[in-house]
């Protein structure tokens, strides 16, 4: 019997009623025609839900990241739809994979090219600590070169772990004070890495 040809002419419409997650408004005072809240929570809300990641993938953790970006795990759900490959446009540097000592200055250069505010996530054992590559040629953790906000353990981490790390980054971004990047502590931190 011939197989009936099907055309998708009557597609099932997705049920979007009560099925879309929206970000809640920050705490504040509402009244007739006005809403008052802190600037930092509005800025944080905007920033955390529109992070632009810069993938710096050098090995197998990068493969895991590819599946995080693809439809199955879909990092775009968290507002990170736009991966940019120019550090000047990005907010979040995701370092995934072994960083050789010779790669260290390049990683630092990429970090320096990013505009403030910028965050760094070390994905996997190698980026966090050198991992199994306890050897003369491998950088023993990218925090020797750039400051790191979130470390994701695993060798390589599951996509869920990378997403978890991303959510932690979002928490940091959402709760960050607007004045943090001008603070003396932050300047001292950058100074500790030789960044003025």
């Amino acid at each position: 019997m011939a197989r009936p040809v099907r055309f998708n002419i009557h597609p099932i419409q997705a049920d979007i009623k009560d099925n879309i997650s929206m970000v809640n408004a920050p705490e504040g005072h509402t009244g007739e025609g006005f809403f008052a809240t802190q600037l930092s929570s509005v800025v944080g809300l905007a920033r955390k839900n529109s992070l632009w990641p810069l993938p710096f993938a050098t090995s197998c953790c990068g493969i895991e990241f590819m599946s995080v970006m693809a439809s199955h795990y879909d990092l775009a759900r968290f507002g990170a739809e736009r991966l940019a490959f120019s550090p000047r446009q990005c907010d979040l540097l995701m370092v995934m994979g072994t960083i050789a000592k010779k790669m260290g200055p390049i990683l630092k250069q990429v970090y320096l090219q990013m505009a403030e505010p910028r965050w760094v996530m070390a994905v996997g054992a190698c980026a966090s600590s050198g991992g199994i590559f306890d050897t003369y040629s491998v950088l023993q953790g990218i925090d020797q070169v750039v400051p790191v906000d979130v470390y994701v353990p695993g060798c390589p981490p599951r996509p869920e772990a990378i997403i978890d790390g991303f959510i932690r980054i979002q928490e940091l971004v959402g709760n960050e004070s607007v004045r943090r990047r001008n603070s003396d502590e932050y300047k001292a931190l950058l100074h500790g890495y030789g960044i003025q």
Partner: protein
């Protein structure tokens, strides 16, 4: 009738006599040893000879034998005769205090990067090399990592348990040693 190991050996002995030594054939690969003053002469002979014509440098590296006093480092050349498809290997020993070996770059252009790599990892000083500097490791590296006195592990780490990672402190007993009773 191809080129046999016997023929190569005869030609070499006829030309250089006792100075080429330690002939072996592990897995059929002709292997011998050449004093370091002669490495270029032997290579030139193998290259130019109408019968031998070893015109391809397959590999150039070094080995560190810390137990052999006076000849700790050996530079290894792998040559290939592309006409008869015959390979050979020869080693040039040198003392670690004076690791000067003549460069093969004039004969084989491929030797340029290979000698840089050998310098990078073993610290062989190739005399006459056009650009002898590190090729793979960071320029700031202050030692030659493939020499056996240097442990494999990165010595700058302090967060790992040294005893668990084969990096015991030089002074004091290691934690792995059994306690004296």
């Amino acid at each position: 009738m191809g080129l046999t190991n016997e023929t190569i050996k005869e030609r070499l002995v006829a030309k250089f006599g006792e100075q080429v030594s330690h002939f072996e054939e592990p897995y059929g690969l002709l292997t011998f040893e050449v004093p370091k003053e002669l490495n270029l002469k032997v290579m030139q002979f193998l290259f130019d000879d109408a019968e031998l014509q070893f015109r391809f440098l397959t590999d150039l590296t070094a080995v560190h034998y810390p137990d052999q006093k006076g000849r700790e480092l050996a530079v290894v050349y792998h040559l290939h005769n592309l006409v008869d498809n015959v390979r050979l290997r020869f080693k040039v020993p040198t003392a670690i205090e004076e690791p000067d070996i003549f460069t093969a770059t004039q004969l084989y252009s491929a030797a340029n990067w290979m000698e840089r790599e050998t310098y990078d990892f073993f610290g062989i000083n190739f005399v006459g090399h056009p650009n002898l500097k590190r090729i793979l490791n960071v320029d700031e590296m202050e030692y030659f990592p493939m020499r056996k006195e240097f442990p494999l592990e990165d010595q700058t780490r302090i967060d790992k348990d040294d005893a668990m990672f084969g990096r015991t402190a030089l002074e004091g007993p290691s934690r792995r040693e059994a306690p004296q009773t």
